[in-house]
């Protein structure tokens, strides 16, 4: 149990640092940045501790906001995906989720891809809508969501595969 808490704290710190030092500065084609820090929300242990998931996700977003001077956009986006996570998990993994037998890093490839992409695109859509704060910019929002989302998805799948923790 304490091992799991420690690993999540470590993941939080590493992802925030990686996001602000590295991924916020990629600026592919001038405006495409990946946001792989939401891996924290995706990989948070699945269980009944929903309140702590909500609270840590909010904190995660807020720390990114502090470095990006973006008010509370990341916090809001993280919070929303954290709140919708149980339903996404349930609709994808079905009965296995109800028995707490799901682990994102060891799920089947197709299910994992579906889960990660729903969460990533939902997060990016909320984030960029809040960033532009103007519905007349809908094309800009969708374009940014699509490109940045694809980039984040790629990185997220890569990181899950690279750093998945295999017990023998």
């Amino acid at each position: 149990m304490s091992n799991s808490i420690f690993r999540n704290i470590l993941r939080f710190v590493v992802l925030v640092l990686a996001q602000i030092t590295l991924f916020n500065n990629i600026k592919f084609f001038g405006y495409i940045n990946p946001y792989p820090y939401i891996l924290f929300v995706l990989l948070f242990p699945i269980g009944d501790n929903r309140a702590s998931l909500l609270f840590t996700s909010f904190l995660l977003g807020l720390s990114i906001d502090m470095f990006a001077n973006s008010g509370g956009m990341h916090a809001a986006a993280c919070l929303c995906v954290a709140y919708m996570r149980p339903w996404v998990l349930q609709s994808i993994f079905g009965i296995a989720y109800e028995y707490n037998a799901v682990k994102v890093s060891s799920a089947a490839y197709g299910e994992r891809l579906l889960f990660v992409s729903i969460m990533v695109f939902a997060h990016h859509l909320i984030l960029f809508s809040l960033e532009s704060f103007n519905f007349s910019d809908i094309i800009y929002i969708l374009k940014k969501t699509l490109f940045s989302g694809a980039f984040t998805l790629l990185l997220a799948m890569l990181f899950i595969t690279l750093f998945s923790y295999r017990r023998k």
């Binding site: 640092l17 001038g30 929903r50 909500l54 909010f58 502090m66 008010g71 509370g72």
Partner: protein, 274 residues
């Protein structure tokens, strides 16, 4: 009472979600209005310290371009110095304003240009004499306006920010407009509300106007890339290509207008009397 407690327990996650969402939306809305993001900004000890650490490493990658910029500026200044005796032209350059303006140098430790509202973070704060609403320029052109200040750091509202509105004019004719940015290309900004009588030509220079007390008059901004009349044919909207490469800003000058308070008090009094 029992029912209220039961309700709270049953929906505690939802209530927590709504509360946190409300909080983050308040922060977001504050950040969309100028000078309002009170709580969450990067002018603080923690983020300033981390950005300084990152900058200590990444500054080496830009050393060459920054050196070139300094050499160009030096040669320009030296040229002015050598030619000052036989030159009557009183063209204002960015480092000679008599006693009305005071200049502080600062290092940029964080720079954004890919969002819709971009900010820079400077490694200089109130201890170095930096205050809110001072103008920030480089040797090439304007960068933005100081927003939040902490003892050691400060943030700058970049000209690449949808809240930024800077008074600017055509260099040759004094017709003025407002400089705004609508997102997208970090090298193009837009000058709007320019009178249709103005003699606009492609390639002409745009400089800061003297109407604000933030920037001195005549600081370079950019050249006209393209222009068009708005549908009512009363105003031009002009696309301006910036002199400054906003994606690579190393050292900046922060300008303080020492007469600012005097001018503002005077204007305020005049307005009150009417």
């Amino acid at each position: 009472m029992q029912q209220i407690v039961n309700f709270l327990i049953k929906y505690r996650n939802f209530l927590l979600f709504v509360f946190l969402l409300f909080l983050s939306l308040v922060f977001t809305i504050q950040s969309h209005s100028y000078h309002r993001s009170k709580f969450v900004n990067s002018a603080n000890f923690l983020s300033g310290g981390i950005f300084t650490g990152i900058d200590n490493i990444s500054t080496y990658f830009d050393l060459k371009t920054h050196n070139e910029q300094l050499v160009t500026e030096n040669s320009f200044l030296r040229q002015q110095l050598l030619n000052s005796r036989d030159s009557i032209s009183q063209e204002i350059d960015t480092t000679r304003f008599g006693n009305q303006f005071q200049i502080t140098t600062a290092k940029v430790i964080n720079n954004n240009y890919s969002h819709k509202d971009n900010f820079l973070t400077l490694k200089a704060g109130s201890q170095a004499g930096i205050k809110q609403d001072l103008g920030v320029i480089t040797s090439e052109g304007i960068v933005g306006i100081i927003d939040k200040v902490s003892p050691g750091y400060s943030t700058v509202v970049s000209i690449l920010n949808s809240n930024s509105q800077i008074n600017a004019k055509l260099k040759k004719s004094n017709h003025f407009g407002i400089l705004v940015w609508r997102g997208g290309d970090p090298n193009l900004v837009e000058l709007v509300d320019v009178q249709s009588k103005a003699p606009v030509k492609q390639g002409d220079t745009i400089v800061t106007g003297g109407k604000s007390t933030i920037f001195p008059e005549g600081i370079g901004i950019g050249t006209i890339a393209q222009f068009q009349l708005d549908p009512t044919e009363n105003f031009y909207s002009i696309k301006v290509k910036l002199f400054n490469d906003m994606t690579n800003v190393g050292h900046v000058y922060v300008i303080e207008n020492l007469d600012r308070e005097e001018i503002q008090t005077l204007e305020q009094e005049t307005q009150d009397e009417q």
